[in-house]
């Protein structure tokens, strides 16, 4: 059997990560950062949400050119004609809008112009944070422009606070300037503006993605020794997740040990992460072991736990047990979702029970859970592998009527099954659909089609069974 469809894997890991980040506000609610409008709020959001927010917050694409004198003129005319209250928020929106297209120096000049032409306007931190974000986003070999903005803040009597640190670190990290983010955090920490746990964990998470583990550990040690910033449970979860993703389970277990030594009690997210690590390696016994440990420790498993467990057991060919957990999960009041069923179907297809998986599709729909394209791709893959081409064609028709995307493996298997039966025209039609529906790039779709045709021809010539 082929490997697990990649989207299924990501489905599991993203739900896990989402849960993790949603854990954050629960643990220690932060006081609302500022009483007034804040163009780029340092709230606890995932990076994608953060960047989307910025785009939404640009009120109107007011400034058409990055030209400074045009911008000043436009500002003057807007100020004299607007009916909206000309308050801090108003100025910030304008500045934000201009900053999205201009250079930092021009933005600073516009801010100066704003202050000069409207003496009642006194910029506060949020205003400077707009400039800070801009200076962090721009590619730059040094931190010079960031320092310039921070100094500008200081000369106006505003010292950087933890939100400043957070905004700078996030913007720098998202712009791929990890070295600068680290440098700035150290610098700010030495000036008594320590990053809070969210900033810290964000940085650790991004470091894990782009740097070696030993570098991340060095960073953590340095922060602990020099600035008394200790990793918390979330940090350890991030680290464990990272080492599990690199299949380094020994290190994950060591981290769990450290976590216990430091007096943290592992929570559901830590357990889920470790379990995911085992499931990735198809180690069903250990995954069940984690589940039992959770029960011993009195940690209530959530839907992610069950989904991970069912995924892992299905993957290691223990479908019967996976089904048992589906029952347990329902008993405990967790409604199985598309991920649960798709994992289970994947397991059944691996065992060659594609018809059983197809029956499960009916069962899941009867329970009000709607299948997604991943579910259908899994089934299509399974049906083709079991040489149930007619059923596969029926399923494909359903997928087509629902404009669902095909996954790489499902597409390749389906095309192979069609070509094997000499139904080349239909294979071409599937190729068209895959390209049209943007399931795959035309390159990927074509290479599969071409190599499959080549393979069929060769097999026929040599008289191999296909």
């Amino acid at each position: 059997m082929g490997k697990v469809p990649p989207s299924l894997r990501s489905a599991i890991s993203t739900t896990l990560m989402k849960k993790q980040s949603s854990l954050v506000p629960v643990e220690s609610p932060v006081p609302p950062p500022k009483p007034h409008h804040f163009p780029k709020k340092p709230t606890r959001k995932t990076p994608s949400q953060l960047s989307r927010k910025t785009h939404e917050d640009i009120p109107i694409a007011l400034f058409k050119t990055p030209n400074l004198s045009d911008a000043k003129k436009l500002f003057n005319s807007v100020i004299s004609t607007t009916k909206a209250p000309v308050d801090l928020r108003f100025h910030n929106s304008l500045l934000q809008s201009y900053a999205s297209i201009s250079t930092l120096q021009d933005s600073i000049s516009l801010l100066r112009h704003m202050i000069k032409s409207n003496p009642s306007f006194s910029p506060d931190r949020s205003t400077y944070h707009i400039l800070l974000t801009q200076s962090c986003k721009a590619p730059d070999a040094t931190l010079a422009s960031v320092h310039q903005t921070l100094n500008l803040m200081l000369t106006n009597g505003l010292s950087p606070d933890k939100f400043t640190a957070d905004i700078a670190v996030r913007s720098l990290s998202l712009a791929g300037r990890m070295e600068h983010a680290i440098e700035l955090v150290k610098e700010l920490s030495s000036k008594d503006t320590k990053p809070d746990t969210y900033t810290y964990n964000f940085l650790v998470k991004h470091l894990c993605k782009s740097r070696s583990l030993s570098m991340v550990y060095d960073f953590i040690d340095e922060m602990r020794n020099n600035f008394d910033l200790k990793p918390d449970l979330v940090t350890y979860t991030v680290l464990i997740d990272n080492v599990c993703n690199t299949k380094n389970l020994r290190e994950a277990l060591r981290l769990v040990g450290v976590l216990n030594e430091e007096g943290f009690k592992p929570d559901c997210f830590v357990y889920n992460t470790i379990m995911k690590g085992y499931c990735m390696l198809s180690r069903g016994n250990e995954a069940i072991g984690v589940y039992n440990k959770m029960k011993e420790e009195g940690v209530e498993p959530d839907i992610v736990t069950y989904n991970t467990l069912i995924f892992g057991l299905s993957k290691s060919g223990r479908v019967r047990e996976a089904r048992k957990f589906l029952g347990i999960m329902e008993e405990k009041g967790h409604l199985p979702d598309a991920v649960t069923y798709t994992s289970l179907m994947n397991g059944m297809c691996r065992e060659g029970d594609a018809l059983g998986a197809l029956a499960l599709l009916g069962g899941m729909e009867a329970k009000g859970c709607s299948p997604n394209s991943c579910t259908y791709s899994t089934l299509l893959h399974g049906l083709c592998k079991s040489r149930l081409l007619e059923k596969a064609l029926e399923l494909y028709a359903v997928m087509k009527s629902g404009d669902m995307k095909l996954e790489t493996a499902a597409y390749a298997t389906f095309v192979r099954a069609l070509c094997r039966e000499g139904r080349i025209a239909e294979a071409y039609e599937v190729f068209d659909y895959v390209v049209e529906s943007k399931s795959l790039t035309d390159v990927a779709a074509y290479t599969t089609l071409e190599s499959t045709l080549k393979w069929v021809k060769k097999a026929k010539e040599q008289g191999h069974a296909i």
Binding site: I424, Y428, A444, Y446, K457
Partner: protein, 100 residues
């Protein structure tokens, strides 16, 4: 069965990928057909395939076979009937490997 790693190797191999998507200067026969002086192998395939579809050249009794019209015949070795299965191979003939 087509081995997994082979499937993956094609899109991972930059040379094979380049062979598929790089623009190539076309010989005159092909130039007349596609109406461009440059096209990639993939682009050419897509062009021919959409030409077959828009002109309904697939045999009504056996969709796997294409009844070539004169224009199509000129680029597919002059064959009157072509199997859909050979189409990629026939098109590849116009895109020889570049000598080093």
């Amino acid at each position: 069965m087509l081995p997994q790693r082979m499937k993956k190797a094609i899109t991972d191999n930059p040379k094979k990928l380049a062979n598929l998507i790089d623009l190539v200067n076309l010989p005159s026969t092909l130039r007349d057909f596609v109406g461009q002086s440059q096209i990639s192998r993939l682009g050419c395939f897509l062009h021919v395939w959409s030409y077959i579809k828009t002109n309904n050249l697939q045999d009504t009794n056996n969709k796997n076979v294409v009844n070539c019209d004169n224009k199509l015949k000129s680029i597919l070795l002059g064959k009157p009937r072509v199997e859909l299965a050979e189409l990629p191979a026939l098109i590849k003939l116009h895109f020889p490997k570049e000598p080093k």
